[in-house]
Symmetry: C2
Subunit: 334 residues, 2 copies
Amino acid sequence: MVTRDDVARRAGVSVAVVSYVINNKAVVKEATRQKVLQAIRELGYNPNLTARSLKTKRTNQIGVLFNNIGNSFETGIALGLEQKAREYGQSLIFQTFAPEEEDNLKMIFMGRTDAIIAFGQSLKTETVDHFAKVGVPLFSIMTPELRHESVPFVDIDWLAAYGKLADHLAGLGHKRIGFMGNRLREKHHDVRLRFLRRALEARGLEFRDEWLLRGTFGTLESAYDAMSNRLAEGDELPFTAIVCANDLMAIGVLSACRDRGLSVPDRLSIASSEDILMASHTSPAITTIHYPRRRIGYATVDAIVAHLKNGTPLESFAADYEIVIRQSTGRARD
Amino acid sequence: MVTRDDVARRAGVSVAVVSYVINNKAVVKEATRQKVLQAIRELGYNPNLTARSLKTKRTNQIGVLFNNIGNSFETGIALGLEQKAREYGQSLIFQTFAPEEEDNLKMIFMGRTDAIIAFGQSLKTETVDHFAKVGVPLFSIMTPELRHESVPFVDIDWLAAYGKLADHLAGLGHKRIGFMGNRLREKHHDVRLRFLRRALEARGLEFRDEWLLRGTFGTLESAYDAMSNRLAEGDELPFTAIVCANDLMAIGVLSACRDRGLSVPDRLSIASSEDILMASHTSPAITTIHYPRRRIGYATVDAIVAHLKNGTPLESFAADYEIVIRQSTGRARD
DNA sequence: TTGTAGGCGTTATCAT
DNA sequence: ATGATAACGCCTACAA
C-alpha cells in the first residue's frame, strides 16, 4: 500500500505538505503543489479513508436501516438517499433491521457512521440514548410508532392524505371501507391504519375491526393469502372498498380478487398507499397516494449533512403527497 | 466517547488486558476478565471499529456496485448478500455504479472495503488493476461483457437456459422470436442477447436484427415505450414471440400490448428472464427463467469471506436456473 | 511556505 | 497473567 509517506519522500517534501495539497489547506507554492500531485499520480496514491476517519472523527458514512431491502418502496427512497449522498461524498451502509438484533446495532455502527437513518422503526430508548451519547444523530423516514423526542422524522400527512382518499371513495358512494394492514412489527403500517381510522371517523364513516385484514411485512403474498382466505369464506364482503397500507399489498389483494373472480372495481374498489411504479401497471391500475420517495431521500440527506457540517438543527418535517386516481376505484356496488 | 483507556482505568488493568478480553486472546484470569467486562458494561463501551480497522487492515466492509438500486432483481440479490454478510459480521456499502464516475471508485473505497462485488459491470482495466494492487478482491455477479482474467463471476448458464426457452417456444410453433434488450451500457443484458441468439441459431431458428427492440437501463417504462412505438407502426409484428432481457421489461411489453389491444399470448407470446415476484402477478403471468438471486447472494459472500479468511481462491462458478412456464406463452398465431 | 511532532483508538510484540 | 509501548496512516497545531 502506498502511503502519504511514500508520496512525501518521492516529492521531496514533508508529509504535512502532502496533506495540505490533498485537502487544499494552507497556501502551498504552486511549484511544490505540482511536484506533489506528480508524485501522487506516479505512485497511484489514494488517501486511506480509515486512517483519515480516525483522526477527523468523521467517517462520511451514513447508516441506513431497511426493513426489507427487497421492497421497492424502500429502495425508491434509497435511490434518493444514495444520489444525494454521493453528491456530498458520503457513503451509505445498509443494514436490514431486525428487532431481535437491535442491540448489535451499536457494535455494527460504532465509530463507523456519522448519522443513522431509520425507516420508521421504533428503536428502544436504550438504543436511541446510546447514539445520542456517542453523538450520532438519528433520523427517521416515516413516522415511528413509538416516538422519541430526540428522533426527528419526515413523513407525509397521512391524516390529510387518507382524508382526501376517503372523500374520493365517499364520493363514489362507499360507506363501508376496509383496510389491509400489517400484523404488528412493521410499525409504520399501524401508523397508517390509525390515521385512516381517524380520517374516516372525522367524516362520519364507520370503521369496524372486522373490516381489517392483515398480512405480514407488507408483502404481496401475505396480502394475497389474507384476501384469498377472506373471499373463500363465501359470504359477501362486508365492505365495498378497501384501502391498503402499501401497494405491494394492494397488488396482492388485486391478484386474489382476480383469481377468485371478484371484479375490481365493480364489486370491490381498491385504493392504496405509496404509488410504486407497479401500481400503475396492474390492470386495473391502482388508485393510490403518491409518496415522494426520491425527494424525501434528497431532503433527508440534505438535512443530515447540513446538521453534520453546520450544526443546523435536525428537525422533523412534512413531505407533500398526492392522490392518484386510477381505475381500481369505482362506484360502490350497492 | 468512552475508549479502551477508560475501561482499563476503571477496571484497574492495562489497556492490553482490555483488548485481550474483547478479542478473547491470551488467557486472562477469570477474575480480571470479569472486572473488565464489568467496567465495559458500566461504561457502555464499544470498541471503535475505525481504529480497529486501521490497525488490523481489515474493515469487515464489502462494497457492492449496483446498477440501479430501484430494480428488484438487484435488490433480490442484495437480500442474500446482506443476510449472509450479517452472519459473518460484515457490513455492505452500496454504491450505484455510473461509468462516468468509475475513477471515483478508488477514492470511495480506499481503505474502506475488504472486497468489492460488482453487478455485471465492465470495469476498466485500470480500475481492476488498481484494486488488485491494493489487495481488494473483485467479484462479479452476472457475466461482465468485458471479462478480466482476474475478475471471477457467477452467473447462470444463459446459453442452456435460453436453449430450453427456445425449445419451449419452438414446441408451441414459434419460428420467429424477437428480443427486448438494452441499448448498450447495461452490459449484462447484451450478454443475454448474445446467448439467446446463439441458442436460437443452434436450433436452426433465425434471428434478425429487425426483431430486436431496445429500452434503456432495463426499465419498465423504456420497454413500454419501445413496444408501444413498434405497435403504433400498424403493420403486423414480424415475430410471434418475444424474449425479454428482464422481467421489468417484459411487464412493460405486456402493458404496451394491453394498452394497444394486442392479446397475449394469442397474438404474441412473451417470455422473460429473472423471475422477479411481479412476473407471477401480472395477467397473464409471465413465462420466465428463474434466477436464484438469494442463493447467489449467499454463495457470493461465502466465497468472498472464505477467500478473505483462509485464502481460498476466489473462482467463477455457475448457478442453477429453472424455466418457469406461465400463461404469457402460447401457441404461435399462424 | 514548509516541516516537526503529537495524537486519534486500536492491536500486538515484547518484556516483566 | 499482565503491562509498556510501538505501530497503523492521517491531520493539524505550532514552529521554523
